[in-house]
Amino acid sequence: MSINAVGREVPSEINEVKFKPFAGDGKTPPEGRRAGSLIRMTPKGRSKIVNSLEEVIKKVGLEDGMTVSFHHHLRNGDFVVNMVMETIRRMGFKDIRLFPTALFPVHEPLALMLKDGTIRRIEGSMNGPVGEAVSYGAMRETAVLRSHSGRVRAVESGEVHIDVAFIAAPTADQYGNLNGVDGPSACGPLAYGMVDACYADHVVAITDHLVPYPAYPISIYQHNVDYVVPIDKIGDPKGIMSGTLRITTSPSRLKIARYALEVIDKVALKPGFSFQAGAGGISLAVTKFLGDLMRKRGIKASFINGGVTKYVVDMLHEGLVDVVLDGQAFDLDAVKSLKEDSNHIETPLAMYGNPYSSGGIVNMLDAGVLGATEVDIDFNVNVNTHSDGLLLHGIGGHQEVAAGSALTIITVPLYRYRVPVVRERVTTVTTPGEVVDVVVTEYGIAINPKRDDIVEAMRGSKVPIWDIQDLQKKAYKICGKPQEPKTTDDIIAAILWRDGTIIDVVYKVKKN
């Protein structure tokens, strides 16, 4: 064990694989060469269509202990992960390493496969019940959580080798050209699946919308796809569009959004600026208010990086922004726009914020507004665990937006359900304070002291400006000092910084 750059004690090995401790953003240079996948050949005239999951699993030669991957564009409406894993379980495979980009509450059945030995460990974001089960020690090995781009880095570097990538495809042709903008389960981009398609030894597309060759547009190309499995339904559209898609009506959350807007206005808003959009009530409110302000001032943005919603699409159509870069669609307006608008561009996750690349989109962002479960007086941010220690959320793109954006704003209520959100020490560090600039609460904002320029820019603003320690004291005064989570010494998950170093670990939670 060693102490890393954010003061957390972290192991040097996870699941018998060596990892370095987090040393600071950009402080651990890359090593080696990019990894590769198995070179394989589809002979001319051989059909790629396979009519059952069982048959395709046999064809790709799945073995005990192998790594299988999935993308999460179908979100909480996804049928594919459960369907494939249930087939794998039924066929008697054991010790599978599950490597999804994220899991949702719909994937709760996987918790049982942790118990019966089908799944050895999960390396990926776990939102909800699976994370909770893992928190109580349901998994034999240690989970490894990576950010979206950190996952890309892990695949490209060979840190994780994917044996079989199962790619849910809202549209496919019989020769493996895939897109997400058409079909009954349309989800928009297939950005998360692109790296898997390039680096997995075997790639299986699963679709409920087989179209004549060639499908168009093409997000994932035929030369990377080995098999196509048509099934009845890959997802439930209601669950696919399952982000928080309404602007918050909570007056305190709206106040947070207005304060965040004021910071963007004073620090970043200028003709040609860019920002990161997302789903979630506060984030949507910021996007809408920002659009209103840009309209009033006659300011046009150069690009919005999404998480794309109707609010972003409306701004594109109104001419308030030149280009939308899209890694994830949250509603049908976003899907339709991706299909129809030439200045709405699907971007591979490798382009998003992988630090070990020739530069990501996040490096070009002027402003990013992010949420958190907790923030501490060193500006460290937790998005993974709750104050009771349960691992209930993935990292998403939090780390890369925070690290890349010129202005990183964290919007949080001062407390939730009488539990302080602004605290002396976060339960888990997901994103280090060194890449966080401003914390915005309904009571006012705290500016990271290293950002003198922001302090200066906010001079004269009506937004209350606090020392972060005073904000934390205010939270404790209202709610009392929070109790520490009741945990054991067993590590159930490692949280990796986007460069693959360990920024923190999550401990097993004691059951009451």
């Binding site: 007056p251 305190s252 709206l254 106040k255 309904e442 009571y443 209202i478």
Partner: protein, 282 residues
């Protein structure tokens, strides 16, 4: 005179809605013990309001409590528990000067016993009898402002609220009664919390009818009402000139104030002061 453009009603039995009231910059916050609290919760709400008044940060907002009316068995107990910790008592269904006298007497006892400064009362006119007696009621020295309530009043008149044709006359009478006694006049609430434009127009209309503020039932209404009560740039400019002319006249020992060859009467100067007060807080 205190700004009372917005007074935010908060149910007195819901701590979740109370905890952040200081954040929204309402001119006044009313913790309500009357209509929003069911009979079975009257006791609990009274205690909750008492402790909320002592422990919650109200920010810049004036602390009001709407107690139960004097025809109920609750009002004296309400007063006894909350009066030490609030600034204004909002008194529903006041019908006469005598009603005010009765409440005044009870308040005086509690104030004397607790060594409190004198609290103000904002009576709510909600009956035809109250309306007829509004001028007398407003003349009571405890009264800081006069408010009115549409639902009970229209019920008393026997007409449906949405079809009532008499409400502008009611409003006018409330304004006359208050202003004749140099008190503030406060309009009732706009109940559609989603209709921002409707709220803005309603509040602006209230302002131009002579009201000093309206009631709000959701924090998201506050900023819109403040915008509606914000004087226009032209009004501010004109008011500045008038105040400057008044100062100039005072410096020169002149009894008559003139601006651009026009005589300015004292009420006009007073109005200009009020406009600048409204403008400066923003």
């Amino acid at each position: 005179m205190k700004l009372r453009r917005t007074r935010l009603y908060v149910p007195g039995n819901n701590p979740h809605l109370m905890e952040n009231v200081g954040l929204y910059n309402a001119d006044a916050v009313i913790l309500d013990l009357e209509d929003s609290v069911p009979v079975t919760h009257k006791f609990d709400a009274r205690i909750l309001v008492k402790y909320s008044l002592q422990n919650i940060d109200f920010g810049k907002s004036e602390k009001w409590v709407r107690i139960n009316g004097i025809t109920t068995p609750y009002w004296k107990k309400d007063l006894r528990e909350v009066l030490p910790y609030c600034e204004v008592i909002n008194l529903p269904k006041v019908e006469s000067y005598e009603d005010m006298e009765m409440v005044d007497a009870e308040m005086s006892i509690i104030e004397d016993e607790n060594g409190l400064e004198r609290r103000e009362v904002v009576p709510i006119i909600e009956t035809v009898r109250g309306l007829v007696n509004a001028r007398e009621i407003a003349s009571h020295p405890r009264v800081a402002a006069l408010a009115w309530g549409g639902e009970d009043l229209t019920a008393d008149l026997g007409i449906p609220r949405k079809k009532a044709l008499i409400l502008d006359q009611v409003r006018a009478e409330i304004v006359f009664a208050a202003k004749a006694n140099k008190k503030q006049a406060l309009d009732t609430v706009y109940s559609n919390i989603r209709d921002e434009q409707g709220l803005f127009e309603y509040a602006q209309r209230a302002r131009y009818m002579g009201f000093d503020g309206i009631g709000v039932i959701h924090p998201n209404q506050i900023e819109i009402v403040h915008q509606a009560f914000r004087p226009t740039d032209d009004e501010i400019e004109e008011a500045r000139k008038i105040i400057e002319a008044a100062k100039e006249a005072e410096r020169n020992g002149k009894a008559v104030i003139s601006l651009n060859g026009r005589m300015i009467d004292p009420p006009v100067v007073e109005r200009a002061r009020k406009i600048l007060q409204f403008a400066e807080v923003e």
